[in-house]
């Protein structure tokens, strides 16, 4: 177990003057101000201590001291500690050392700030455009304060994203822009050798909505939970909870225990319906529509209950900064217990019916394999990581809401394939039912809303993570003036998981592509920030696409 003081001491001893300042407003958050020349070394040092990379946050600080700020966030899962290393560079030369060569998952975050803030990263392996549209003019950085939130630059023609070239001997198959798994826009260029996938390039972020900019310039703290909830159509409450927790931490507000219990129940209701939805979709993707129909039939009960409790089928609008909006009365609690009993029974039946079905096993076992080491390298989260033997769960590692009083298991399997994610998700649904029962049982009386006693002080940093059904959601908040955030960074679970997809796809069959992408339960709208690439290593080919196609045809007809 490392404590904050251990981390401080280790960093101070090793890097002395490069570590300028420590700030630890709570016992679980450590903010370290460092010199930018040591970013890469200190990041590696924290990984060595057992840290897991979460996300980077870039922000515009030009008005204050003519710098652009960059924060790399890490989680020490075994020690219940978040370490945020903050650094900055002058705006006329915003160059940082890239940490991507060591921590591949930082690739997207860094590319995001190349696009949005005009930062430069020395040594980045793939400094291509990630978020902005292909016709967005060069030199306009939308997240800088000087750029208005509603700027609409003229459209340009004849611009297209340059996808990576296929490795030699491979054919490119475009998949998208409508996604084969969920009906959301994303483009995969899949490089295949025969039927075997040898790599892929991804262009997404086609539904980038500029939510962060909007919330930093237009709305107020109280309205953001509703906007946060609309980041994702399936797991909205997790974003609202995560944002609210970050704000409450920044303001030093302790909300009532009853509100925390109700939040816990809402999050678990969401987990049940999300996992049942995913189970249905996974069945549908492999052509097993019985599962699809039955899982969704079972799910409907919890959807109707959500409508009864909150007033809406999804986007509950239940969680706001300071507490929750509606109380769970004893009658509603009893009804929920009844529904859980039915769902549990039905899910056991479904589980028994599919667990022995050879067709599911053949489609999911040994498909989308990556090793535990690769999973950790890519910082994958949620059921995707737990199916690869990585034992992480924010609910247990960094307890929030009422999870510190809940008894539950974190299912971890080490089959390393898509079948593992099916098993993990089914087991997690049972755990969620268990948690709701305990929460309803133990829920204390009390108010459901706590008022903010005073205005939120500007320039307070806070980070909050919540375990969403798909993995871990991280919200980083810097409070600002005028009753709105100075910077609000959202990281949805698909953001890291999608970066690991090329590794999962490697050497699998093309027909398995939908279920492999589906196995991470992708949510492109929440991610929307994009790209990645992973290609078979080898010499760089300078052939055009046409040449490659010719070669691959020639190879095929040569009776290989």
């Amino acid at each position: 177990m490392l404590t904050i003081d251990d981390v401080k001491k280790q960093l101070k001893d090793k890097y002395q003057a490069a570590v300028k300042n420590f700030e630890a407003p709570y016992s679980t958050r450590l903010f370290v101000d460092i010199d930018k020349s040591k970013v890469r070394e200190i990041s590696n040092e924290i990984i060595k201590m057992g840290g897991r990379y979460l996300v980077s946050v870039g922000y515009d600080n030009i008005a204050r001291d003519k710098t652009l700020g960059l924060i790399h966030n890490f989680s020490l899962d075994r020690d219940d500690l978040f370490v945020c290393i903050r650094t900055s560079a002058p705006v006329d030369n915003p160059e940082f050392d890239s940490i991507t060569p060591d921590i591949p998952n930082a690739g997207w975050s860094e590319r995001e700030y190349m696009d949005l803030l005009g930062m430069k990263f020395k040594g980045h392996p793939k400094p291509k455009r990630l978020i902005l549209a292909d016709d967005w003019p060069e030199g306009v950085y939308p997240l800088r304060k000087e750029v208005p939130y509603n700027l609409m630059p003229p459209a340009a023609e004849n611009v297209a994203y340059q996808l990576d070239e296929a490795p030699e001997g491979c054919t490119t198959i475009p998949v998208g822009p409508f996604h084969p798994t969920l009906h959301e826009p994303a483009h995969f260029a899949v490089f295949v050798d025969g039927e075997t996938i040898k790599g892929c390039d991804y262009r997404g972020f086609m539904v980038h909505r500029g939510l962060e900019k909007l919330c930093q310039t237009q709305v107020t703290y109280n309205e953001i939970p509703f906007i946060a909830e609309r980041i994702c159509g399936i797991c909205g409450s997790v974003h609202a909870t995560s944002y609210s927790q970050a704000l409450e931490l920044a303001a030093g507000l302790k909300i009532s225990r009853r509100a925390e219990y109700i939040r816990t129940i809402m999050l678990e209701i969401e987990r049940i319906h999300s996992h049942l939805l995913w189970l249905g979709i996974a069945g549908h993707l492999i052509g097993f529509d019985t599962v699809f129909m039955q899982a969704w039939r079972v799910r409907e009960a919890i959807m109707w209950y959500g409508e009864k409790l909150t007033g809406n089928r999804k986007t509950y609008g239940m969680i706001v900064a300071g507490g929750v909006r509606r109380d769970i009365t004893p009658e509603l609690g009893d009804e929920l217990l009844g529904i859980l009993k039915t769902i549990e029974k039905e899910l056991i039946t479904i589980h028994k019916a599919i667990v022995g079905d050879g067709s599911i096993h053949r489609r999911t076992k040994g498909v989308g394999c990556i090793t535990k080491q690769e999973t950790e390298l890519w910082s994958l989260v949620g059921p995707v990581a737990r199916a690869r033997g990585v034992d992480i769960d924010v609910r247990r590692d960094h307890p929030y809401a009422a999870y510190d009083e809940m008894q539950f298991d974190v299912p971890v399997v080490d089959s390393c394939d898509v079948w593992g994610t099916v098993v993990v998700r089914i087991l997690e649904t049972f755990e969620a039912i268990k948690i709701i029962r305990q929460a309803l049982d133990k829920m204390p009386a009390g108010p459901i809303m706590t008022e903010f006693a005073e205005d939120v002080k500007p320039l307070q940093h806070a980070i909050a993570a919540v375990e969403a059904p798909r993995g871990e959601v991280v919200h980083y908040l810097i409070t600002g003036e005028e009753n709105r955030p100075e910077r609000w960074r959202v990281r949805a679970p698909t953001y890291p998981n999608l970066q690991g997809v090329p590794a999962m796809l490697l050497n699998d069959q093309f027909a398995d592509l939908p279920i492999i992408i589906g196995s991470i339960d992708p949510c492109f709208s929440c991610t929307d920030r994009v790209v990645k690439v992973d290609i078979r290593t080898g010499e760089k080919s300078r052939l055009t696409k046409m040449d490659l196609e010719k070669i691959s045809r020639a190879k095929k007809f040569a009776g290989r």
């Binding site: 509603n150 109707w304 007033g311």
Partner: protein, 179 residues
């Protein structure tokens, strides 16, 4: 094993039978506290603008056309039905109804336009007593607002404590950014 699981699947499907609802041929009632289309009671509304100040979708607009007349427009085409307006209304003038079948080919069908005659203080010209700490005051209302109803844009910069015809004109010139 394979056959057993197929038999189980057949039973799984047969047992619940057909669960599809007959909707829309049969009405589908909603739960008691459902958040459907909001409805305004113009008898109760005091025109405080609290709903407009709290709407996350910025779908409630307020335009003071003179010192005594305030026009409130609710643009249902962008509403997210979060029910925040009903929560904050100090007079309970807004209720979330059970109406959810709102598809229409004219978005004005689901808008609400209210012209509210405001009582103003003869001395200061403001609509309400701003000094006392009442519910309205807590909503952080500054006084007059001049949103542009034609483009349905909330113009947050234009709020004054005294009615100002120049601001009203300025709001008329507002144009949405275009490519």
């Amino acid at each position: 094993m394979y056959l057993m699981s197929k038999i189980k699947q057949v039973l799984l499907v047969l047992k619940p039978g057909v669960v599809t609802l007959k909707y829309p041929f049969e009405p589908h009632p909603v739960a008691k506290d459902f958040r459907g289309q909001p409805s305004w009671d113009h008898h109760k509304c005091v025109g405080c603008g609290g709903c407009a100040a709290h709407c996350p979708a910025r779908t409630i607009l307020i335009r003071d056309v003179c010192q005594d007349l305030r026009v409130m427009y609710y643009d249902g085409s962008r509403c997210t039905y979060c029910g925040r307006c009903a929560d904050v209304c100090p007079e309970d003038a807004i209720t979330m109804t059970e109406q959810y079948e709102l598809a229409t080919n004219d978005k004005n069908d689901i808008g609400v336009n209210m012209e509210l005659f405001m009582l103003t203080c003869q001395r200061c010209g403001r609509c309400f007593n701003m000094e006392t700490t009442n519910m309205i005051d807590k909503m952080g209302l500054r006084g007059f607002k001049y949103d542009n109803l034609e483009t349905r844009a909330v113009i947050s910069k234009l709020t004054t404590e005294q009615f100002d015809p120049k601001m009203l004109e300025e709001s008329d010139r507002f144009k949405r950014p275009q490519k």
